[in-house]
């Protein structure tokens, strides 16, 4: 189970609204390489992990991704909050506005709603961990694209933090994969 801590994992203090950037970042909320997909993937896969290291890693990275989901939602909210509807129309984000207003909804930047089809969860831990390594790289690449188009330091700073976390997660999943392979290899010779 989980308890809530009344803070984000990394500070977010956006003072300059930027609805176009909000919609771009939205893909990390409910898009294919987003934080919701990441969290759901690891928290589902953990049930079939065979070693104590792998159970802990999937459990804890899945939990951290939920904190990242909260960071992304906070950024989208702060970038959209109180922007007048006419302004949204001028910036061509009015199609999103007429469906959701200025709320945070789990979709990608094109408005495609979140779907569990973005993730896989198999009984085979080697297959899962290889998916997880690829997922971290895809999330890292998405943060690179977002950093490329952002210009407000208050937006770039938390995006850089999130990008770095994907690199660390990739590292931890790599170590986990080696531990699982060694353990399973050992069992074959028993």
């Amino acid at each position: 189970m989980w308890f809530y801590d009344k803070k984000t994992q990394y500070p977010i203090k956006i003072t300059k609204p930027d609805p176009r950037m909000a919609i771009a970042i939205l893909t990390q909320y409910g898009g294919p390489n987003g934080e919701l997909a990441a969290s759901l993937r690891y928290l589902s896969q953990r049930f079939s992990m065979p070693t104590k290291e792998a159970k802990a890693t999937l459990n804890d990275i899945g939990t951290e991704e939920l904190a990242h989901l909260e960071m992304i939602g906070t950024m989208v909210h702060q970038l959209m909050d109180k922007v007048p509807p006419k302004e949204l129309e001028k910036l061509h984000v009015d199609t999103n506005y007429v469906i959701h207003g200025r709320a945070v909804y789990p979709s990608d930047s094109n408005g495609v709603p979140f779907t569990a089809a973005y993730i896989e969860s198999m009984e085979d831990p080697i297959a899962n961990l290889n998916e997880d390594l690829a997922a971290e790289e895809k999330a890292r690449a998405t943060y690179d694209y977002l950093i490329n188009i952002a210009d407000d330091p208050d937006v770039i700073d938390p995006l850089r933090f999130l990008r770095e976390r994907e690199v660390v997660h990739y590292q931890r999943f790599g170590e986990t994969l080696r531990i699982v392979q060694e353990t399973m290899g050992r069992k074959k010779f028993y």
Binding site: K6, T8, I14, G73
Partner: protein, 84 residues
């Protein structure tokens, strides 16, 4: 930056260090350096958290200040913009 935000950001920094060490220790459970760092950061975080909660109210619902009113619901929530 006001005093409350400074203190909260110190807690956030220690808690982040703790979480990063937690992930590291999950795949390196007998790394004594990481264990020592974890212990140090944990003490700092708990200390600052006690200070923060006694001054500015609960960070978790499981902190009950000596008042007649449930303070957990008080603003700001993490997604609220400070100037709002």
């Amino acid at each position: 930056m006001d005093e409350q935000t400074t203190l909260l950001e110190q807690i956030m920094a220690y808690d982040f260090a703790l979480y990063d060490l937690q992930l590291f220790l999950n795949t390196h459970p007998s790394d004594t350096n990481a264990l020592r760092d974890y212990k140090m950061a944990l003490e700092q975080s708990e200390n600052l958290r006690r200070q923060y909660q006694s001054k500015y109210g609960p960070l978790t619902a499981r902190y009950l200040p000596n008042t007649t009113c449930w303070q957990w619901i008080n603003d700001p929530w993490p997604w609220n913009n400070k100037e709002v």
